[in-house]
């Protein structure tokens, strides 16, 4: 199983001075899985994601992403993953088409491939009419769907979505999750963070980080049963409550 896993982390650790942001975390993510990565603010999620996306060297432990080693093959990792976040993903001062062109160029796609994929992406999203609009002029919900599609432009094996639906209206938020399901069904692994606890229920499996460690991992249904509660919100509160009263570092 491990040989085929999309992500394998074993005792992955990162310290900043005396502060251990990620403390021996171990987990696997399967190909085509929708994996929810939850945790309190300051619990170490961002540090873990930065290590898994090849942006930060671990202090200890091992991890492979799409089969590549986080210590020695971070450039290969970057080429084989997609990434989008709520805070930043598209350039607002470029048009929709210019953004796609830019990302296609960054990922070394041929001009013909960029043209083909731009056309098919805009038609799939129903955005043909918006190709030459500035990104800042299009509604947030559209922007997030577009950003997700752009993150998939180079057909990565894994896509990391960091709070992709934050502030998005409830209808568009659900449409976004349908895109996630379609992406996973097509074989791309989806690694997603969210503060919406109902969205945690949409994942195949979730992990909940508490103070630098993985406090729980499993299918939402199993975690609820183990805790004897009815919602992931309650699972989350039970795990996080002792840690939540301590202010962490924003590392």
């Amino acid at each position: 199983m491990n040989g085929d896993a999309a992500i394998v982390a074993k005792d992955l650790t990162r310290s900043f001075g005396r502060f251990v942001a990620c403390d021996h975390i171990s987990f696997d993510v399967r190909p085509g899985e929708v994996f929810g990565f939850l945790g309190a603010n300051g619990a170490g999620k961002t540090t873990a994601i930065r290590m898994l996306t090849g942006l930060l060297k671990p202090s200890g432990g091992q991890a492979t992403v799409a089969g590549f080693d986080v210590y020695t093959q971070s450039d290969s990792i970057k080429r084989h993953i997609g990434y989008m976040s709520q805070r930043f993903s598209l350039y607002e001062d470029l048009t929709v088409a210019e953004n796609i062109r830019l990302y296609g160029g960054i990922y070394d796609l041929a001009d013909a491939a960029i043209r083909d994929r731009t056309a098919s992406m805009l038609s799939r999203l129903g955005f043909e009419h918006a190709a030459h609009e500035f990104v800042r002029a299009i509604p947030l919900g559209w922007r997030q769907k577009l950003a997700f599609s752009v993150a998939l432009l180079h057909e990565p094996r894994i896509v990391f979505l960091d709070e992709p639906t934050s502030g998005v209206d409830p209808v568009t938020r659900r449409q976004f999750w349908e895109m996630i399901y379609e992406t996973a069904a097509a074989g791309t692994t989806v690694f997603v963070t969210t503060h919406y606890m109902d969205e945690a229920e949409y994942c195949d499996r979730i992990s909940i980080m508490v103070a630098g460690r993985i406090g729980a991992i499993g299918a939402p249904h199993d975690l609820k049963r183990q805790c004897g509660v009815n919602s992931i919100d309650e699972v989350f509160v039970r795990l996080v409550r002792p840690a939540a009263t301590q202010p962490g570092s924003e590392a």
Binding site: A40, L140, P170, V171
Partner: protein, 315 residues
């Protein structure tokens, strides 16, 4: 007693976009009032008008019986405002930030200690830490302290819980409930629909218009047709099956169930439930269940959003 906030026909445009379109409402004294809506709905524009930072193009707004344009200097002394973005000084310590905001309003932390104690006590162990190095939940508490330090009569909190984890969010609402018990009027905006239940009354806002203003329970009750919750281990397949079912009006995932409404207005819930059961059985969903369920504020929000979108396309 006069209302704490009275807004009448307020409109604000930015270029071609109407950020607020003819908005009217009133907030009662000592009320915990929520504006619930997504990014871009007009929440921040409204808060900036109510806190005298920008002027409306049309309509009037009074806060504490003071006009937001004519009486702006008097009003500014009496309101507390926590902006949507973290707007404290990241390079100053917790204590330095608080002292600064106190001094701007001619007071000191010492003089206000009692009032801010419930919140400041949680921050005090970290008073020498740089504000920029606090966790999300603690930054929020510091910002709330800074907004309270001059004893405002009304608080405006613009998305204080956005991007904050579920536990810290809960604790923040507990703090607000405590302030309200002490008599403060608080106006809060949030994109999280489930936070509506923490407010006395809420306004649902989308595209610069208010979709509803009422107590959260009353808004939930206003859902105008039967709502059923369907479940199956194969949730996504079930959702697709529901979309193909000819009588489905809407089918939306809600946590581990799918909320379904029927397009036939006159069908009884029991009949609708029986028909869906038969449909699931004949489509190979042996494990599927379907039960009537009480609508939530989020169900109402989506129904009114869709009604608004439908009205726009037909006119």
């Amino acid at each position: 007693m006069t209302d704490a906030v009275v807004v009448d026909g307020v409109t604000k445009r930015f270029g071609a976009t109407a950020a607020l379109a003819d908005v009217s409402f009133a907030i009662h004294p000592s009320e915990l009032f929520g504006f619930i809506g997504p990014d871009g709905a007009g929440k921040t524009t409204l808060f900036r008008i109510l806190t005298t930072l920008i002027a409306p193009d049309a309509g009037s707004a009074r806060v504490l019986d003071l006009d937001v344009i004519r009486d702006l200097w008097a009003l500014r002394q009496r309101i507390g405002y926590m902006a949507g973005r973290f707007s404290l000084y990241p390079d100053l310590s917790v204590e330095e930030n608080l002292s600064f905001f106190a001094s701007v309003f001619g007071t000191t932390i010492g003089a206000e200690r009692e009032r801010i104690a419930p919140i400041y006590s949680q921050l005090e162990p970290f008073r020498d830490r740089r504000a920029g190095a606090l966790s999300g939940g603690m930054k929020q508490k510091l910002a709330l302290c800074c907004a309270l330090v001059h004893r405002p009569d009304i608080l405006f909190l613009d998305e204080p819980t956005t991007g904050v984890d579920a536990v810290s969010r809960r604790e923040f609402w507990d703090l607000l409930a405590g302030l309200q018990r002490a008599g403060l009027t608080a106006v809060v905006s949030t994109p999280y629909m489930d936070e509506a239940d923490r407010c006395d009354r809420v306004a649902l806002i989308q595209h610069g218009r208010l979709l509803a203003v009422d107590a959260p329970a009353a808004i939930a009750r206003s859902f105008d047709r039967p709502l059923l919750a369907a479940r199956s281990e194969r949730r996504h397949d079930l959702l697709r099956a529901l979309r193909e079912y000819p009588h489905t009006a809407t089918a939306y995932p809600f946590g581990e169930s799918i909320h379904v409404t029927d397009r036939r207005g006159d069908i009884a819930v029991a009949a609708q439930q029986a028909e869906l059961r038969a449909y699931f059985a004949s489509s190979g969903f042996a494990d599927a269940t379907v039960e009537p369920i009480a609508p939530t504020v989020e169900d109402v929000f989506m129904a009114r959003m869709n009604a608004g979108a439908a009205a726009e396309t037909t006119t």
